[in-house]
Symmetry: C2
Subunit: 230 residues, 2 copies
DNA sequence: GCAAAAGTGTTTCAGGTACACCCATGA
DNA sequence: TCATGGGTGTACCTGAAACACTTTTGC
C-alpha cells in the first residue's frame, strides 16, 4: 500500500545519541568514546548509532546502550530531537538523544577497550563533537527537574548504598551542597528507605549503614497521593 | 564530500506536528484540522508537515505554524520526537512535535476554512489520528511544569488582560480551580503586572481592570536571582 | 433592589533552611 | 589519642492553603 501524499518528500538519516550516566567517585560520570570514523575521527563523542527501519527510536537507543555497555533493561528516557541542518558535519542527520541512568558496576569494561570509551566526570567533560555538549547540558537540566520529583537517582546506585553516598549523588545532580541533617530528615520523613544491618567501612573508620530503596513502599505512598520531592 | 560511514543507512521521512494552543471561552483551545488525504482522510489531526532538507526541524515547525495560522515569531518549543515504527499508517514517519502558544486573536480565520481547521476546547478534544492525542497529553504535562516556573501563559493573551481572565487561564492549564485571593496575592508579591486605568466591562457590570505584563520588570527580577512560581 | 462578577486580609500550618556537637573506629 | 567521616535535634522563617464578606453597576 502506498499513498500519494508521501511521495517526493525528503528523507533523512536518523540517529540516536545516548547520554549514559553513572555515579562514581562521588560524582556523576558520563560515558564517552573516541569517534572511529571521519569526519572528526578521534573526537570525543557520545554513544550513538543510526535508527534502522525495523526498530523504533526507543528500541534503537536501547540497542545502542546495550552495544556499548552490555547493560539492558535500564532507565532510559528521551531528551529531545536535534534537527539543525548542519549539526552533523558528514551529512544531514537528525538525532534523537536519550539519557540512561546506569549502575556503573554493571558496565562491561571489556567493551570500553573495544570502543575506546571511558567514563569521565561531569565536571571534567571535554569538548565533544557536533552538538553533543548541548545534549549533555539539556540532559542535566532534565535530570535536575526529574530527580526532584521522581526517585530516579536510585537507578545510578547498586541494590544497597549508604546515606553519605546518596547525598553526594544528589549533590552531584544539583551541583550544590546539601545540609546533611536536612537531607536525612527529609529522607526519613519520606520513609522509603530500609536500613540494613551491614555497614560500609570503605570510606570511614566508623562505617556507614547500608540502606536500600523500598520500591513497594514508594509505590504505595504514591498511590496514596503523596508527593516525592528531594 | 561523502563519508563511508553514512553509506547504506536507512533513511526516513521526518514530520513535524504542531500542538497549537490558544485561550478562548475561559479554556485552553487546540487547533485541529480534518486530514485531507489518505490514509485516515477526514480524521481529526494536528497541524503537520514534512521537514524539508533545506530547513531545520525548528524551522519546519515555524513554517507549518505560519502556514496554518498566519502567525509568526511566536513562542514555540519542542515536545519530543515520536519514533514508533507504525505510528503513521501510511509509511514509516518519525515525527517531532512542537507546541506553540498563540494569541487566538491573531489567528487568520480565512485559513480555517482553507484547511478545514477549527479550535476546540481541550476538554472536548476528539479522538485524533495516529499518536496525536498522546502528543497533546505530553504537551499539557510540559505546559503545567513550565507554566509554574516561567511566565509563558502571557503568550496566550493579548497585550492587556484582566485578572479574572489570567486566573481562568491558569486554572485551565492546571485543570483545577485556584483561590482568587491567593492567586492575586501571589501575583502582587511578584510585582510583574502593571495595572491600567481601563476596565473590561464585557463580562460583568462592575468591570475588571486591565493589566499588562511588565517584561522589563520580570527580566530584572530574574536577573536578581528571584524565582517565578505560579 | 437584586443578580453577578470584581475585589480585598487574616490566620493557620507545613515544609525549608540554618546551624554545632558527639560518636565510633582504625591507625 | 587523634584524625576522619558518620550520625543526630531544634529554632526560625517563609510560603501555601483555607476561608467570607463588601463593592460596583446594569438591568
Amino acid at each position: 500500500m502506498s499513498f500519494a501524499f508521501y511521495q517526493n518528500k525528503d528523507s533523512f538519516l536518523v540517529a540516536v545519541d545516548c547520554i549514559i550516566m553513572g555515579f562514581r567517585d562521588n560524582e556523576l560520570n558520563i560515558l564517552i568514546a573516541r569517534r572511529p570514523f571521519e569526519p572528526l575521527k578521534g573526537g570525543w563523542s557520545l554513544m550513538g548509532g543510526f535508527v534502522n527501519s525495523n526498530e523504533s527510536s526507543d528500541e534503537a537507543a536501547a540497542r545502542v546502550l546495550n552495544e556499548f555497555t552490555g547493560i539492558d533493561n535500564i532507565f532510559m528516557e528521551q531528551v529531545k530531537a536535534y534537527g539543525e541542518i548542519n549539526r552533523d558535519l558528514g551529512e544531514r542527520v537528525i538525532s534523537i538523544a536519550y539519557y540512561a541512568l546506569v549502575n556503573i558496576e554493571l558496565f562491561d569494561t571489556t567493551l570500553a577497550e573495544k570502543y575506546d570509551a571511558k567514563w569521565v566526570r561531569l565536571s571534567l567533560l571535554p569538548e565533544l563533537i557536533f552538538d553533543h555538549n548541548k545534549m549533555v547540558k539539556d540532559t542535566i537540566n532534565i535530570l535536575q527537574r526529574k530527580a526532584a520529583i521522581k526517585p530516579i537517582g536510585f537507578n545510578l546506585l547498586g541494590e544497597q548504598f549508604t546515606l553519605p553516598t546518596l547525598q553526594s549523588l544528589y549533590e552531584s545532580i544539583y551541583q550544590e551542597s546539601i545540609d546533611k541533617r536536612n537531607f536525612r530528615k527529609k529522607l526519613m520523613t519520606m520513609d522509603i528507605l530500609e536500613k540494613l544491618e551491614e555497614k560500609d567501612k570503605g570510606s570511614s573508620k566508623k562505617g556507614a549503614y547500608y540502606y536500600k530503596f523500598n520500591k513497594e513502599k514508594y509505590d504505595q505512598l504514591i498511590q496514596q497521593g503523596l508527593h516525592f520531592s528531594l
